[in-house]
Symmetry: C2
Subunit: 347 residues, 2 copies
Amino acid sequence: MRIGRMEQNPIITTDHVKPSRPDFKVVGVFNAGVAAIHDEIILLLRVAEMPVETPGNNIAVPVLNGQDGTVVIRYLSKDDPRYNYEDSRVVKEQERYAYLTSMSHLRVARSKDGIRFEIDEQPSMFPMDGEEAWGIEDPRITQLGNQYYITYSAVSSKGVAVRLAVTEDFRRFERLGLILPPENKDVAIFPATIGGKYFMLHRPVPKSIGSPEMWIAESPDLIHWGNHRFLIGLRDESWDNGRIGGGAVPFLTDDGWLELYHGADMNDRYCMGAVLLDREDPGKVLARSRVPVLLPEADYERNGFFGGVVFSCGVLPMGQTVRMYYGAADEVMACADLSLEEIYRTF
Amino acid sequence: MRIGRMEQNPIITTDHVKPSRPDFKVVGVFNAGVAAIHDEIILLLRVAEMPVETPGNNIAVPVLNGQDGTVVIRYLSKDDPRYNYEDSRVVKEQERYAYLTSMSHLRVARSKDGIRFEIDEQPSMFPMDGEEAWGIEDPRITQLGNQYYITYSAVSSKGVAVRLAVTEDFRRFERLGLILPPENKDVAIFPATIGGKYFMLHRPVPKSIGSPEMWIAESPDLIHWGNHRFLIGLRDESWDNGRIGGGAVPFLTDDGWLELYHGADMNDRYCMGAVLLDREDPGKVLARSRVPVLLPEADYERNGFFGGVVFSCGVLPMGQTVRMYYGAADEVMACADLSLEEIYRTF
């Protein structure tokens, strides 16, 4: 399949982003939400930062003090037998996450042509309280009227939960509360009501029984959610047999709602695939990619902070093609144009 | 502390309950929801069943066929190295639940005096579809007007989720959908609106980060839930350092909402304790038990299908005392009268 990756890829790298404080460095700018407003394309970037220097044989982990909103740095010895540092993203203790190695905030970037972006010098949304103490991640933006609703992961020692915020201008942001308790991620709200209700995709991560798979839920008001239904699950022997979850915000085509979702295999290779949902009942699956739509093949997708990852949080539909923005290797932003025909050929 | 355990305890045992089919035996009748209707006390019992006979060196696990609603029995060899049978309640595979050893349904029992119960011969609510394929468990009943709302665990290979049902008469039950996705349990809806909203306690079980702890959420309509907030967590070196969750449906006292909750320690000893919540904002904790209100001390609490458990899903408030119904050792139902004064002494 011909994938129209932009020649300019990666379109945003860590060099383009100013750290939020002088003793921090930006280690990732990825998994951005996407919106069109007036004559601009907005990317709401996830910016991951780490302390510049780590004295001695240590790992530094940044954590927000939920009481006063300051970021404090803790040091863990690389020789401490309690900790496992194999995954560059996290410090594990007995297979569970004890710390994240970086802290993420959200930052606006603006563009006229959708390729060259000017990035704000300051964070747009920064972790604010105890439930965001380990960072805020992976925003997805849904336009409803002239409001832009943003779902994002709020990470803390209490777990990974889903919060909602809203903006009209991408300058002022209002938080609207926690819409799904831990452990949940990858929430994307549909950009229209269906039968008078709002819908969202979500991805619970259960502990004792079950796998990280996609569900759908309904709401009368975007704040309160119910009628949760299982949507699609892992497939053995497939590119998406490890974990799956919502990716881009779904968009309406002549054939139904098209959702570009991410699937990882057992080796943590993250690809993008597609699922087509019924226009009137998005809980009904019409088709699903047998093979990925996009695999991590380019150098900037295969190598980076966490290599072998393509991960989209948002698209711009453009008739028979769709412009997909995506994080590559948990480090940079890239962009590709896909034709609906190419996507349908994976079904 | 003097705990008024009933002399008649256990008030219901497995001998009192007719199996749902002749080739099944009842192995547990416990964790009942409680309601008062007209001149009767209702217990909505969790009834756990297993096949009577298991040929050869096997374990039998019952599972619902979600397509046609029949229960099928699978046989697992006790010698199969993939499985771990140490916990009598589950078959584990690599620390996760591969099967439950029993399947639960819900059954009504009726009483005039609250001690001697007549138990229906047939299940009142039986697992119905794929999302209940491993059973339905631990009902909690909240009266709102002349409607009785029932939250319960729906268990399947997709995880442990929370469903809602409603009845007016405990003869016909209507299912109202899945109100919390996996993994969640121990949901108790408050028996009154507060500031025009419904509230519930719930207990998410996150996988990567976080522990099984209590949260609170709000709803405009009982179906859709949001504004989730963390309520109380585990306490090191305490009787509730392993897992905690809602127990009885909370009730209003002069001092605030009183919730009798369960806490287990690292050795899986399940006790009941109390937490007092603000009358106007039940997300605000006023007091919490330093020591348990009730420990598994009686023989029928210490020994049974899963020994060392007292676990309440419902109470009848009676002025300055409260009658607590509770499952003992995951096998039988017991009852105890507690004075509010005794409970407050644990704060």
